[in-house]
Subunit: 147 residues, 4 copies
């Protein structure tokens, strides 16, 4: 998979399959959730999920090919944009081989559960993303190669 | 369905079906959970799930026939036994017609989440069960017709 | 809910809730799937799911507010556009009251499973949609009020 | 985990957790299903799930302790008994450490999907189980150490 430094491997199990014999559409969101949480834990060094103060505001998924039982879904995750109070993730899901199953884009909003209010994207998280992805944030929020 | 005064109707949806074209075994536990919660809410007059202080200690499920998409699972629930700190539920799941899909027995333990300790089955709950089911609790915990 | 002639009611059950105490994001796709199938069955008069020859190509979901256990998700569905070989559905999910939980747009592609090939949107289905929604299809695929 | 030659590791993900903050009861059946399929694939050398001709007839699960997000469920599987047309599996689920989460016993019936009829437990499968588990089948169906 090109363009992703972080890839989460997700075995496709029987319960993920629906009556049409393929991975059910809703299950893709669970694959993406698992990959996102693993990404945030690794890149943002958040040890507990409670520390990852963000909520998904929107997601677009393009279903490219059906996935079958026994395949390993490989889910790429990277940060594509960092706004003042939100960030955008890009995702691709491959079948463990050369078949693209889906790609997706999601927007997460930084959120303080205790105060029940949106908060700014933390400056120290920005440095962690830039280092992990090898990018530099531009004033418009886009992330471009730093090299 | 004979022997049940409480029946919970549960439409079988696409996500419940697995790759073999039938309702997945694990989904039966969700049907039973939904029916149990509805039973407790009705019979014990518990308005919030937080008030229903019990946890499932064990369950036995006998799978009798496969269930298909589009059928309505009808889940019967009744209390079969009330111990000092636990109670036993009997369940049957029919397909909305004359086909028995599964039957099950589960044991719930009364539990105080705040104190993290088991507690006695409340006396006022006993009266509610006896009235709803038309039974009388015997010293050994069994419930027999009160008439 | 304004703007929808078809609304599917979906009780929110315990299994839909995640560790944050709200309906999990992935579950929204299941709610939308259930509503879509019910819509297609009603409007296109497809009796068996096998007759509904279409597959989801993409979906965008905007999460507007969290949903809690015990609420009834009301899912509105309507056809917004009919292309040569695809159609677009609009969805809104409300909490049974005045809180919008999510809105979504999905694109479905007409597909012949046996021939494994895309097919044209059937002319007789077009008439069924126009009648049910009270709209008229324009050459660009958009559906506008017919009155 | 003592007494199991086969252990299936299953990461506990966010979607497995319910509103009480623990792994939902129904999810245990999915963990057991995943472990059972992996066991059958390994011990019976069944390459495709279609070759594993058996259906679950019943299961008993004892819930011993709650499981939390981030733990790794370790699911032990072994054959405990082989009847003429069925076999019994024993399961234990640990939290990746020293906490037993659940134990379970399930009965599977050998089944020929094409003929829609029960069939005898294959003699060559018996040899495979005896070799893997280091046991010998007795006339009553029980499996005892062969050494």
């Amino acid at each position: 998979m090109e363009g992703f430094r972080f890839i989460h491997r997700q075995p496709i199990v029987l319960r993920d399959i629906d009556g049409f014999g393929h991975v059910n559409n809703a299950v893709y969101l669970t694959y993406i959730e698992n990959a996102r949480v693993a990404y945030l834990a690794k890149v943002f060094e958040a040890r507990a999920i409670a520390e990852i103060r963000n909520i998904m505001a929107s997601i677009t998924v393009n279903f490219r090919a059906p996935a079958a039982y026994g395949e390993i879904a490989e889910v790429g995750v990277r940060v594509d944009r960092i706004g003042t109070r939100s960030f955008t993730l890009a995702h691709e899901i491959w079948n463990g081989g050369d078949r693209l199953l889906a790609d997706a884009t999601s927007v997460q909003v930084m959120y303080d559960y205790e105060r029940a209010a949106t908060i700014d994207f933390p400056q120290d998280w920005l440095a962690l993303v830039e280092r992990f992805e090898g990018v530099k944030r531009h004033p418009d929020g886009s992330l471009l190669p730093s090299g």
